[in-house]
Assembly symmetry: D2
C-alpha cells in the first residue's frame, strides 16, 4: 500500500503544517526523503490555502491575499539526486478528497491581481464547480458538463542559490520599469506572509526575505499551469540542489490552455500519487534547460472542436507586431462573443474558456505584422448543439443564472 | 465529375494567368462564378510562383523577390453572397501534381524577410522534401519521415473598401514607428509587382497602388498558416463584398504550428477541391469577426509527443512580460538543442520544427511575468527513438549531410 | 457528498451481506431505492467473493467454486421505473479500495471451467497484478505496464418472470444436446450456493431453485465483459420489472476484448459511482432489445498497434465455415507465438492478451468459407520495442519468472 | 516521379489485360519486377471487372457472374524475395480515377452468393455512392455523409504449390459435407472463367483447373477485407515463392467491420501506391503464419459512437454456443432496428452498416453459452442527431427514397 508522506488538514491553517511552504528557496529543508523507484502520495491544500469558499458570493475572490499563494506540499528529497541530474516523475494518479467534492474559478479584481481579460472583467467574479466522479458542472453556468483533465498547476524542484538570485534580479528589473503599475508587472519577494516549511528563526527570516514568489513559471517548471501535465504523464525535471527537493501544489480539476481567468482553473484541494527516478547527468546529456514531458495515455478525448481565430490587432483596432498574447486574447474574445449568442453572459463564457479543456494554439508567428492564434472549443461539453447552421442559434439560456460579482470596495 | 475551374501552368509566369492575383482589393473581378452547393477544383502555383527550385543550393531562397508573393488562385464568386453572410467552405480534398512531387522549406536571410529565429539563423538555407504518397522525407535531413497534414496556408474572401483602408492605415502606422527596421515591421502596398487578376489599365494601376499585401493574416482569414485547416475541415468565412470572392493559395504539404521558418512550411504547388454554401446574415447571427472552423475527421494521428516548455525570459536572460512569442521561441530553442544531441545540425532541427506536425500550445498567459508556451514534438516521425533514457542519447547522424546555406552577397 | 448506498466488507463472507446476490430473479427485493437524477456509490467484492488470494500459487484458481459466482451488489430500485423503460446509467467513476491495490488473472483448469484456449492451457495458472495509481504491472510477467481501462464486467437489471423462464428453457435445451460435456455447455440454476439477497425461507428456496446463473451475457446486459463500459460511459438498459433493479459487480481493472482467459480480466474488488435517469417507454421508442451505450470521453489512448490476423481454419488444419470464434482464436495464437520470440512463456503471452487493452475486431464475415478476425496488440504497453525489424527480435526475458501453475489433483 | 507499373483500361475487358489475374496459383508469371526499397503505383479495376454500373437498378447485382471475381493486378515480383521471408509493404496512398468518382454497394440474391443477413434480405439490392474528395454520400440513402477509410479488400502473395494443395483439399472437404447447399459452403476451382495473367496454352489450362478462387482470406492474407489496411498502414506478408508475387485488388472507398453486405464495401476502381522491403527469414524470426500489420497514422477519426450489443441467441430465439457470428448478427439487427426509428428502410440501414466506418468488436467469448459482440456506429456520419433522448426519435426521412431492389428471375 502506497504511503501518504505528506498529509494536510483542510480545517487548519497551512502555516501550521511544516511540510508546506509558499516560497522558493534552496535552504528549505526536505519535508520527507524517498529513494529512486519509490512511489508515494502527497496531499495538497488549494493554492490559496482555503481562502475561497463554496458559496455564492465573490467577496472572497475580491479580498484574497495573493501574497500568501501558492501553498505547496514538499519539498520531497530524493536520495542520490545531484545538480545536473534529471528527476523523472511519473504522475500515477491525482484525486479529490471525499469531503471536498468541489472547486472554484474566479476573475480577480483589476485592483488585486487582474487577469488576461481584466480590461473587460475588471471586478471580482466567482463560479463554483461540483464534482461527480470524473465530471464537473457549475450551478452558476448551466448547460455545460465535462470530464476533468486533472493536473497540478505547480510542480518543480528547488532552485539553487545562483538561480534564485538570477530570478530575483531579472524580475526586479522588470518591475523597476513601471513600479506603480496596477496590477504589478511581477511579484517580488515578500517576507511577511512567507511560509518556509520547517525553517525557523533568523535563517527562516533571511530566506523569507529573498525567497522567490511562486507565481510565474520559471526554468525549474514551477507554476507552468500546463493542463497536459495530467495524471499519467511523465515529467523530466532539472535538478539544481542536492536531493532535488520536489514540491507540488495548485491542483486543478480542469483548465483551458492559458488558464486565462488567472484564478484560474477549477482550483481544488486533493492528492497526487507519484513515482520518482533519476537520469544522472541528464541535463547535459539531453541539453535540458526547462522541464520536458510526455503526455498521459489517458486524457479526455474531446475531438470535435469549434475553432476561433485571433490576430494581433487588438480590440481597439491597434496593430501589434507578431504579438501572440494579443492574438490569443482576440480569439478568446471572439469565442466569448459567439457563446453569448446562445444566451450565456460574457462572464459565463469567459469562465467556460478558463475551465474547460480548451486548446490554445500558436498558429502563425511569422506573417508580419500579425500573429495568429487559435482557440479550440470542444463542442461536446455543451448539452446543446453549439455549431453554426443556416437558421442561426437557438437561445438556450434565459439569463436567470449568472456568475456572482462583487464590486470593488 | 467535378470541374477544375482554375488551372495553372507551372512552366509559365503566374503573371500571365488572369485567374491569379497577389494583392487584396475589392475591385478584383471574379475569376469564375459558382453557386451555393457547388463543388469545384482550383489549381495553385506555389506561393513564390516558382522562384524556388528542386536543387541543393539556397541561392534562390536568399534572392527571392518577396514583393511578388503570395500568388493566389481566384477570386471565386458565389452567387447570392452578400456582405454580412458567412461563406461555408468544405475543403473536400487537397493534392499534389503528378509532375511535381516535391516541396521546399527555407529560412530567409535576415536581410530579406528573416523569420522567427533569424537572430540564430541569419542566412538563407533550404531543404527539399520529396513526396511519396501521403509521406514526405528530405535528402537534406536524414532519419525523419512523416505523413503530411496538407492544407492551404492562405485562404479568404476579398475585403471591402472600408476594410482595406483600415488595414492599410493600421499597418502603415506600425511601420512608421520604425521605418528603417530590417526586416520591416510590415509589408505595405507596392504596385510594381502587383498582379491584379483580370484588371487592366488605370483601374488596375490604382488598385495595385493600394491593394493590401498578402503577408499577414487579417479579419478575413488570409495568410493564417493554420495547419489544421486541412483537407476535411469546414470553414466559415466572413463575406465583405457582393459574391464573396474566395481566393486560395500557398499550399503546404505539412507545417508545424507557428510556421516558424517563415519559408515556411513544406511549400508546394497543387490543387484544392472545395464545396461552398452560405449562411445568410451569419456574421450577425453568430457574432463572427474572424473565420471559425471545424477540424477534419482525417488527420495524421501522432499521439506520442515529447513536449518542451519555454517561458518569457529570452535567450539572453532578459525578462519579458507575459510574452508568448518569446516563450514559444524558448520552447523551440530548447527542442533544437535537444535534437542536436542525436546528431542533427541546428538548422536541420529548426527545419524539422517548421515542417513536421508539431503543436505549439499557449499553456499559461497569466502568471506574471512569465508566459509559458509548449512545443509538442511527435516522436513517431523519427526513425530512431528520441526519448530520454538513463544511458543518454545515441548519436544517430554523422553530420555528413546538412541543409544547404547561401551566404548573403 | 455522494452517498455510498451499498458497502462491502472484504473480510466477511458475501453470503452475510444481504445487499449482495449471485443469481438473477425478479423476486429479489431491492437492496436500496433511489430517484431518477440521483447519483450514488456502490461497493463490490470481486466476482469470486474473495476465493482468490494475492500469492504465488494457482491452487485457489484450480479449486475455485464456480457455482458461487458472480457476487453482485444490488439490486438498486429506481423510483418510477416500469417495464419498457430505458434506464440511463452514467458511470461517473470506478475505483479500487485503498487496502486492496491488486487484482488477479487466471486460466481455469479444463476440468473446472476451462476457457478460450483451454486445449492449449488445460491446467490452472494465475498472475497477480499490482496497481500503482492508474497503472498496473505483474510480478509474474516482466516488461509490461499499462493504464487500466477500468470497468464492470457485469451490470444489468432484473429479468421479468417471462424472461427468466425463456433463459432457463433455452439454456437447458443447449445443455441437453451434450449433457456430459466438460466443460459444460451452459450453467443451469443451482440452489445450493445461491445467494438471494434479502430473501429468506420458502420463497428464497423457490427463487434459488430457478434463479438464472450470472455467467452469460443476456438481453439485459449482464455479464457482457465489454471493456468499453468503462468509467465515463453512458449505458441505456432495458427495464423488465417495476423499479428496474440494477445490479453490478465483477469489476475489472483492465481486460482485452473477449476476456479470453475467462478468469478473466484483472479481477478486483472496488466501488462504482453511478447516476441514473429514465427514458419512459424507451424500449419501444428506440426499438431496443439489448443495452446500447456510448463510450467514455476518457480512455487509455494506445494508438500504436501491432495487428494479428486469424482465419477460420483451426490450429489442426480443419476448415470451419465463417466461424469468427475460430478465427479470433487463431489471431490470439498468432500473437502468443509472436510474443514468445521476445522471451515470454506462452502462458505469460496469453495472460497479457487477456489483461491488456487489446482490441478484437470482426474484420470479415462473408468471404466463404473463412471468417477473418484481428487482434490489436498495443505496442506501448511493453517496456521494449516489440515491432518487427530486419534484424529479428531481441530476447528481452530470461525465462526466470513465469506464471504459477497448479496441476489438477 | 513514381512509375505506374500496371495500368488498366476501364473500357476494356480485364481478360484482355495480362497484368491482371483472378485465381491464385504459384505458376502465374510476374507481371512486373521491382527491387526492395522501390515504390510504384498499380491500377486496379473493381472486383467484378466492371459488371456493376452507376445506375438505379439492381439487375446487375442480381445477375453478377461471381465465378469471375476478384480481378487482381499483379503479381509483382520483388527481387531477392524467397520463401520464408517477410515482404514489408508500405501502403503510401490509394486513390480514385478522375473519370470514375463513384462506387457501389449491394446485397446479393440468396440464390447467387447471399450474404451475412441473406435470410432477412434475400433479393438483390444496390446503392450507388458518389465521391466528393475524401467524402462520400449516396443518392439512395439520404442523411449520411462520411470520410472514406480507403483500402484494398484483397492483397497478398502467391501461394506455394503445397499451400495451394492444402487450400483446395480443406475447402473441398467442407463443400463435401453439404454439396447442394445454396449458397455454397465454399467456392472451388473453376477453370472456365479463370484469368491466369500471362499464362497461355496447356500450362494455363492446367493452372486454371486448380487455381484457388480468390473469395476467402487465407494464410497469405488475400481477401481479408480488413478496413484498417488503409493508406498509411504497413503490412508484413509471408513469402511462399521466389520473388514473392504480390497481387492486389478489390479496392474499397470505405467499409464497416465484417463487410457484412458481401457486395460489400463501397466497391471501386482505382490505384494504389506502395513501397516494398524484405525481412529475410522473417517468418521464422517472428513466428509468422498470417500477415501482421500496423495501422495508418491517418484515418478518419469518428470518436463518438453508439454501441449495440448482440449475444449468441439467434433472431428465432435459439441458443448457440459461444458463436460470435450469431452474436454480431444480432448486434447488426439491433442497429438496423434502431435506425428504422428515424425513418430509414431496413435495407438502407443495412447498407450503412456495410459501408460506413463501423467497428465490430469481439467483446466476450468465454461466458458460456453466450458470446457477446458489439457494433460501434459512428454518430457523426449522420446529418441529424441519432442519439437517444427522453422525447424519442424525430423521423428524419419520409420514405420517398430507397435502395433499388431486383426480384429474382
Amino acid at each position: 500500500m502506497t504511503e501518504t508522506i505528506i498529509k494536510v488538514n483542510l480545517n487548519e491553517s497551512p502555516y501550521d503544517n511544516e511540510k508546506i511552504h509558499n516560497r522558493w528557496h534552496p535552504d528549505i529543508p526536505m519535508a520527507e526523503m524517498v529513494k529512486p523507484g519509490d512511489d508515494f502520495i502527497i496531499e495538497c491544500v488549494d493554492w490559496t490555502g482555503g481562502q475561497i469558499k463554496n458559496n455564492d458570493s465573490a467577496d472572497d475572490v475580491r479580498d484574497v491575499d495573493l501574497s500568501q499563494v501558492h501553498f505547496l506540499s514538499g519539498p520531497v528529497g530524493v536520495e542520490g539526486a545531484e545538480p545536473g541530474d534529471l528527476l523523472v516523475v511519473d504522475i500515477l494518479d491525482i484525486g479529490t478528497f471525499e469531503e471536498s467534492q468541489w472547486g472554484f474559478n474566479g476573475f480577480f479584481s483589476k485592483q488585486n491581481g487582474g487577469g488576461f481579460l481584466t480590461e473587460h472583467f475588471p471586478e471580482a467574479q466567482k463560479s463554483i464547480w461540483d464534482f461527480k466522479g470524473m465530471f464537473t458542472s457549475s450551478r452558476h453556468i448551466p448547460g455545460v458538463e465535462f470530464a476533468g483533465l486533472i493536473h497540478p498547476g505547480l510542480i518543480g524542484c528547488l532552485p539553487s542559490k545562483d538561480m534564485l538570485e538570477e530570478w530575483n534580479t531579472r524580475e526586479k528589473g522588470l518591475v523597476d520599469t513601471d513600479p506603480d503599475r496596477v496590477p504589478a508587472l511581477a511579484t517580488l519577494p515578500y517576507g511577511d506572509t512567507a511560509h518556509m516549511g520547517k525553517m525557523t528563526g533568523d535563517s527562516r527570516d533571511a530566506a523569507a526575505a529573498e525567497g522567490a514568489r511562486t507565481v510565474p513559471p520559471r526554468e525549474h517548471g514551477g507554476n507552468c499551469d500546463i493542463k497536459d501535465l495530467s495524471r499519467g504523464s511523465k515529467v523530466y525535471f532539472p535538478v539544481y540542489v542536492k536531493d532535488a527537493g520536489l514540491s507540488v501544489g495548485d491542483l486543478h480539476f480542469s483548465q483551458g490552455d492559458g488558464e486565462i481567468t488567472f484564478c484560474g482553473a477549477i482550483e481544488m484541494a486533493g492528492w497526487i500519487h507519484m513515482r520518482v527516478n533519476l537520469i544522472k547527468g541528464g541535463m547535459q546529456k539531453y541539453g535540458i534547460k526547462n522541464p520536458i514531458f510526455k503526455p498521459s495515455p489517458i486524457t479526455p478525448k474531446y475531438d470535435d472542436y469549434l475553432i476561433f481565430e485571433g490576430i494581433s490587432v487588438d480590440e481597439w483596432g491597434k496593430q501589434h507586431y507578431l504579438d501572440v498574447h494579443v492574438a490569443y486574447r482576440q480569439a478568446c474574445l471572439n469565442a466569448i462573443e459567439y457563446l453569448t449568442k446562445f444566451g450565456y453572459s460574457k462572464a459565463q463564457a469567459y469562465a467556460i474558456l478558463g475551465c474547460a479543456p480548451v486548446q490554445g494554439h500558436i498558429s502563425g508567428v511569422v506573417d508580419i505584422p500579425n500573429a495568429c492564434a487559435t482557440l479550440w472549443l470542444p463542442t461536446d461539453i455543451f448539452e446543446f448543439d453549439v455549431q453554426p447552421n443556416a437558421d442561426g442559434p437557438d437561445i438556450m439560456l434565459d439569463g436567470s443564472v449568472d456568475v456572482p460579482l462583487s464590486k470593488d470596495k
